[in-house]
Point group: C2
Chain length 463, copies 2
Amino acid sequence: MNHTNPFDAATYTQRRQQLKQQLGEGLIVLLGNEESSMNYKDNWYTFYQDSTFRYYFGIDLSGLTGIINIDTNEELIFGPEQSIDDVIWTGPLPSLASLAEQVGIKKVMPTGKIADYLKSAKKLHYLPPYRSEHELKLQAWTGETVLEPSLALIQTIVAQRSIKSDAEVAEIEKAVTYTSRMHRHVMQFARQGMKEHEVAAEAVRYAKSTHNLLSFPLICTTQGQVLHNHYRGNTLQADDMLLFDGGIQTSAGYAGDMTRTIPVGTTFTERQRELYQVVLDTHEAAMAALKPGILYKDVHLLACRKLTDGLKQVGLMRGDTDEAVQAGAHTIFFQCGLGHMMGMDVHDMENLGEQYVGYTPELRKSTEFGLKSLRLGRALEPGFVLTVEPGIYIIPELIDMRRNDKVAQQYINFEKLDSYRDFGGIRIEDDLLITENGSRILGEPLSKTIAEVEAMRQQALQL
Amino acid sequence: MNHTNPFDAATYTQRRQQLKQQLGEGLIVLLGNEESSMNYKDNWYTFYQDSTFRYYFGIDLSGLTGIINIDTNEELIFGPEQSIDDVIWTGPLPSLASLAEQVGIKKVMPTGKIADYLKSAKKLHYLPPYRSEHELKLQAWTGETVLEPSLALIQTIVAQRSIKSDAEVAEIEKAVTYTSRMHRHVMQFARQGMKEHEVAAEAVRYAKSTHNLLSFPLICTTQGQVLHNHYRGNTLQADDMLLFDGGIQTSAGYAGDMTRTIPVGTTFTERQRELYQVVLDTHEAAMAALKPGILYKDVHLLACRKLTDGLKQVGLMRGDTDEAVQAGAHTIFFQCGLGHMMGMDVHDMENLGEQYVGYTPELRKSTEFGLKSLRLGRALEPGFVLTVEPGIYIIPELIDMRRNDKVAQQYINFEKLDSYRDFGGIRIEDDLLITENGSRILGEPLSKTIAEVEAMRQQALQL
């Protein structure tokens, strides 16, 4: 339920107006999401609205479809009508017509009429489906089994949504502040002897007690090297680090996304301290490089070089930094990308295609290991919101794969690295807005240096 | 992740054996669930496995399909193979072959081969799809756009799964005990001035801290009359009642489902006390009537009569009890059914169709208001697990609808009822096993009488 919508009808009308002008012709179909079923039809997951539908039509309810008919200059919403049974089961809700009016839409029609309505279209624009029910609906409405999403629509929407308005930035800042506070809470809550899932449970409680959703499934693990880790059965040990990656989505539908890595005790071990500082230095260097015009791919590569320099100091890498990074040697430690666009989606507009959101026709996404996981490569513009999240991940399986690799032999000190096999992983992540001259970290500041983090843990554990 | 599976390979083999014998011929396709996407493909909801797949094939991972080929006596699982990228992103997992072996399956094949495999089938049995991706997969594999689920398969599975084995009952009892403890925690935690979502957040924390899932979205509301209430913005007021309906699903995939209604203060008001006692008496009477052979529909109607008797005592209903219930007059207070089957699904096997799970060819589900919401009507058998959950719900919109209704005029005291318009709702729900001679409440006992509930609140609020 969209209980605190900071955007008014004029905002949605203007957004649709801009889309119409930029796209020029045709009929745009934007599918809202349906309820998602867990183990039977009516046992529903928490509803997440499609972000593009919400950007242009604002309503946070299931089963709606937005139409922008450029050719007839008509805008309408198709949806179900409320029955008396609905009133008995869910209580009285405002009518679809009144909800539509709040987002500047004067016409609503029952979903059953949509296929007929679409027949009048000379040119139909729709986005790539990422849920099977989108696919089934589009097939049924268009009569086509092979769908052809509109590249022009994708590109127009990406161009519009990539630049966040001041009101959007304010809402994202709110999401990041909630996120930052959840992190602070977790950083103070975690204790030796707890299970990972107990810490995660407390984080979920914190998020829900703010009456917001999580923007993605939490990562809360002592095994930070497992990048997409949703197993939570480990017990926090004194010498472990806990990596917590989580974000809150506000009721208006904007996401935050931060990561911190803390010692389970009050201090990092010597090894942890060394590598944490390498990641932190990389994080700072990457953030300092952010400004309009720079390719994010170049910021990523700068971060890779900084990381390599740091790892050389520690004695885990060796040789010429530029050559090592060019050869991809650093990817034994840093396998993924430096960051991604963020907005209504935590990976903003990922369903529209990473090539279109993060790259350009001139700058294609690489297929090389490491760079193929970089979701954002293109030149930055004021109004972009993105994450910076370098890390070091010691993955034993990857070490073994690379052990006899020529490139790795040259730049990696395997002898030393072997004693790090059970080290784990470190990531530090903040969310930033690209400004006219550089960038600005969003949200309430959160401890990040070794001194700050250790002081926070010492204080928390004294309680 | 299926981290504590109490069922061994012999159990699954025996279950499949029974299914083969009962069904007799053809090729059975049981679809496991896929990951479900929130706002883009790779942003996933918590995974819930399909319960039928899990009952016969045990594995709690996404993207699998189980095959039981009765004609060739072959059993196998189709699934994806793990790549080196998977290892880097999610850590090493046991191979599909080794997981399959744990559930008595010796053959696994890549999903890509499934359509070819199915071509050999003389007769294909599959269940009704409740997720769109099931529909798309079945369409692709069978080449049919109009699917025809197998009635014989539905009926055979319902017959088998309706009778819970001792090991299943033990697992359900575990789920209900977790559920009972979550309720006790919430009954002690709730305080005047809290928001509903804060209480719900604490319940979620409790559930997750046990490393289990919720079996359905929590209902946590001061507006208990809204039957499917997922709005949680109200503040708990001193004279409110809080209705909490929640259940925990164990890691082995069995559900609990209980409801309690408590005063936000330490005592019920006089009115609340009166109606609470009516619901409690109804609950006790219904539970006492449970035994093999009795139609659950008759238990429901007995409960309706008991409720009507109680409401007559309070002065909200009048006239002959039997006639009032026969006329459906009580449905102004009790609009829904007395209970449902419970097992791996909180509404067990609901995706197979309520007519088949809760009724028989001779006993069709009614279409009358009230009875049409009764999910279970058929004769009870030892081994059934079900809920008993009567309630009183004062729905102003329904009162207004019925005000000029002939039946209602005769049996309802509208003058008095009008002063109850903002009363709210009460429900009391427990989970029971049908035994050889009667029934048994499952799980750790939880306060339920007025004296018990008020004592609990008094104790909690003194802390």
